[in-house]
Amino acid sequence: MLTRRTLLIAGAAGTASLLASGFPAAAQSIPTVEEVLFDEAIPTIGNPDGDVTIAEYFDYQCPFCKRGHPDLLDVVASDGNIRLVMKDWPIFGEPSVYAASLVLAAGDDYEAAHTALMKTEGRLSRDDVDATLAGAGHDPERLAARAAEQATRIQGILDRNTNQASAFGFRGTPVYLVNTQLNYGAMDKAALLAAVERARAA
């Protein structure tokens, strides 16, 4: 009779949703802000001292992650006070792990290698990854060798990201964290700007 629903009727149907869905479960304890936003093993993009950190759980084969990436970089660059952490969560199998490993092994070239791969559109094979990186002036073989050297570090990053995603109960990519605010699914520029504003207001 007096359920919330009777009061809300359909009017609110479109507004409420995010909470209802992105909200499953996980075994691990909830990741801390430190673990999620400030994993020191992961290189950062943008302003390293930014007052807002955006962390994106993504996969190099996830089309929406890639489609939204230029907007994301745009927001980070034009704002000037945002720290961006790209958190590899390879959900599309082996080529994604391969791509993530090579980029994480790129050292000073991290951002360039990452951006090159984010410019691809859909699915990737190992060969596609190699070709893309080579096309952007990186040496895939050298990167693969360095990735093998740094296997512990890289595997650590991927494991931590995956465990965090699972602990949060994320269903897939992309998930954007703007400081402590979770946003499931693709975000356009307006949504990103609004989220940053909310983070600063909080």
């Binding site: 629903r5 995010l18 479960a25 075994a27 929406f64 199998g93 949504a191």
Partner: protein, 628 residues
């Protein structure tokens, strides 16, 4: 009356909130995998296993990400060509929309693993999903996660919140049982049903004006609920003290002052509660506050009996009189009426109702104190409108002067005493209130028979009232000494001793206690996808909760419909950080609130009950949940 106001409430809501289409063009929040890609397994005429997916509109499944294996050995699946998903750089990827099938012709024994993966268009790409399929029974199950409830971590208290198009509730990140990394559906933890806030809904429909217009109406509909009842004798008593000075105009002024200060207190308390993040509303209901209130009413009662004149100190009254142009004691009574109204908010406030919950949650979530407080002020005004009507019209009905007046004052004195007992009853050992009621009734009886009346009809009716009060008072005394606790069924212990316990049909509802997010998580997880769970937020001081526990839970129909539920009770009597976090995570504004979860820990849509509850409403929510 209650029933009437509840349905009128729903009706009003219907008028105020005609259905609007989903807002915006952004893709909706991603569905759970099992709903986005509904899997069905069958065996066709050739004996091959056929997996088929019913794909929700706006979602697609990748052809090359459907695979099956048994004991780590891949099994050959045949899939029809899909739609090319254009990819100018690396060539087309094939996807399925609407529906997809995969055939497994190789005979398989035992359980095989089926993996699939898809995306929501322009939204999210799901992590791969795995299902166990029994090749003989065709039964489909989700792989068990490694962690049971035992593996629960309590986790640091971090307020990860969910951002989005609208302001949504702050959500404590939720620990639960773990599906393996990147697999498994969300079969543990909890998931609240989608619902925008009441205030947000109104805002969206009609802006600030609609919010401000609606809350007084909500209040008006709540004006005839038990939460507001104590206001009537209080105001009537305050007016009666005026004696022959009381005119319709004065009645109007005083009752308006009373209602305005009640509404102001209501708005301020709500704003402070929501804004500070503390649940002030609960803190206020501490035994100390209740005790002080009860004492205040007792003092008021005594002054009604003429033991002393309750007036502000003469110097104050004079000061006020000087400023107001010598209106005599009227300033004083205005002030004491205002004070009365202010403190009455403490009684009205804690009655959690749908609009109150909506406004409090809105303030807590958006920090928009102004609008939230204005809404609560409006709610208070609405609740008070009938009081003003009563004060204005009723003032004329009161006798002018003489012995009559004294009698009327004393009647209100008894009303105040009743309010005092009612306020303090939850604090007393159960059964003591019975004795207090008995004493009050016997006092009423002796008053009623001793009133000097010349009119024989009046005399007869007073004596009849006195006789009734005496009889019920004695019955209450007997009940109290026999261990009875319910003022409405004082002789229940005796009746049961007589063996005529006819109402003992269904099992008594047994609630397990919970007080933290992690504990509730564990309990939901232990339901194992089978039992539904009802979580009931209550507190000793919550009067509506007492009514529910006394007259709704024992109902055979309720007992039966909740019989298979896991019943969990969150007692908010002692308010602490843990149960406060639990309330926040569950988006609960206060007791009484009932939340229904299906076996998978998902709140059933359209079932949450806030405020006073009927047997029908509770039964309906239970059945809706069970059917899921």
């Amino acid at each position: 009356m209650k029933l009437f106001s509840a349905s009128a409430f729903a009706l009003l809501a219907l008028v105020l909130l005609p259905s609007a289409g989903p807002a915006g063009a952004a893709p909706a929040a991603p569905l759970p995998v099992s709903e986005a890609f509904e899997l069905d397994v069958a065996r066709d005429a050739d004996g091959a296993l056929v997996f088929s997916w019913d794909i929700a509109p706006g979602y697609y499944l990748y052809r090359d990400h459907i695979s099956a294996q048994r004991d780590e050995t891949p099994l050959p699946l045949s899939t029809p060509p899909g739609t090319p998903k254009d990819d100018p750089v690396f060539g087309p990827t094939q996807v399925y929309t609407g529906a997809a099938t995969a055939r497994l012709e190789t005979p398989v024994f035992g359980t095989l693993e089926l993996t699939f993966q898809g995306c929501q268009d322009d939204g999210i790409c799901y992590a791969p999903e795995t299902r166990h399929v029994d090749a003989q029974t065709l039964e489909v199950s989700a792989p068990a996660g490694p962690g049971g409830p035992g593996a629960l971590g309590t986790g640091p208290e971090i307020a990860w919140t969910v951002g989005g198009e609208t302001a949504v509730a702050p959500v404590e990140a939720v620990p639960g049982t773990a599906p393996g990394a990147g697999s498994g559906p969300a079969d543990a933890g909890f998931e609240l049903a989608a619902s925008g806030g009441l205030v947000e809904g109104l805002l969206e429909r009609g802006g600030v004006l609609l919010v401000l217009a609606s809350f007084p109406l909500f209040g008006l509909l709540l004006a005839f609920t038990p939460c507001v009842f104590p206001m009537y004798p209080i105001l009537a008593g305050a007016l009666a003290r005026e004696g022959d000075k009381l005119t319709a105009r004065r009645g109007f002024v005083l009752s308006s002052i009373y209602v305005l200060s009640l509404s102001t207190a209501f708005g301020l308390l709500g704003a402070a509660a929501g804004w500070s993040g503390q649940n002030l509303q609960l803190v206020l209901q501490s035994p100390i506050t209740s005790g002080i209130l009860a004492a205040l009413f007792a003092v008021l009662a005594l002054s009604m009996f003429g033991l002393f004149e309750l007036q502000l100190p003469g110097s104050w009254t004079n000061w006020v009189a000087a400023r107001t142009g010598g209106l005599g004691g009227s300033g004083g009574s205005k002030r004491s009426t205002a004070l009365l109204g202010f403190s009455s908010a403490l009684i009205v406030g804690p009655c959690v109702t749908v609009p109150l919950a909506g406004a409090l949650l809105y303030i807590a979530q958006t920090a928009d104190v102004g609008l939230g407080a204005a809404a609560l002020f409006g709610l208070g005004l609405g609740k008070g409108l009938p009081l003003i009507v009563m004060g204005t019209l009723g003032g004329q009905a009161l006798p002018r002067a003489g012995a009559w007046m004294e009698g009327v004052k004393q009647i209100f004195g008894f009303g105040f005493l009743a309010t005092a007992i009612w306020t303090v009853a939850p604090l007393l050992p159960s059964g003591v209130d019975l004795a207090l009621w008995a004493a009050l009734l016997i006092a009423v009886a002796s008053f009623a028979v001793s009133v000097p009346l010349t009119n024989t009809t009046a005399l007869a009716s007073m004596r009849a009232v006195g006789g009734l009060a005496l009889v019920y008072g004695v019955i209450l005394l007997i009940g109290a000494s026999a261990g009875g606790t319910d003022p409405l069924k004082p002789l229940a212990p005796l009746a049961q001793r007589g063996g005529s316990a006819g109402s003992g049909e269904g099992r008594e509802l047994r609630f397990a206690a919970t007080g933290s997010i992690s504990d509730l998580q564990a309990r939901l997880a232990s339901a194992n996808g089978e039992r539904s769970t009802m979580v009931y937020f209550t507190a000793d001081w919550c009067v509506t909760c007492r009514v529910i526990e006394r007259s709704v839970f024992p109902d055979p129909q309720v007992r039966q419909s909740l019989g298979d539920f896991q019943l969990v009770k969150a007692d908010l009597t002692d308010f602490n950080a843990e149960n406060s976090a639990l309330m926040k995570a569950m988006r609960v504004a206060g007791p009484p609130t009932m939340i229904f979860f299906d076996g998978a820990g998902r709140e059933a849509a359209d079932t949450r009950l806030v405020g006073s509850v009927t047997v029908d409403a509770l039964t309906r929510s239970a059945h809706t949940t069970e059917r899921l």
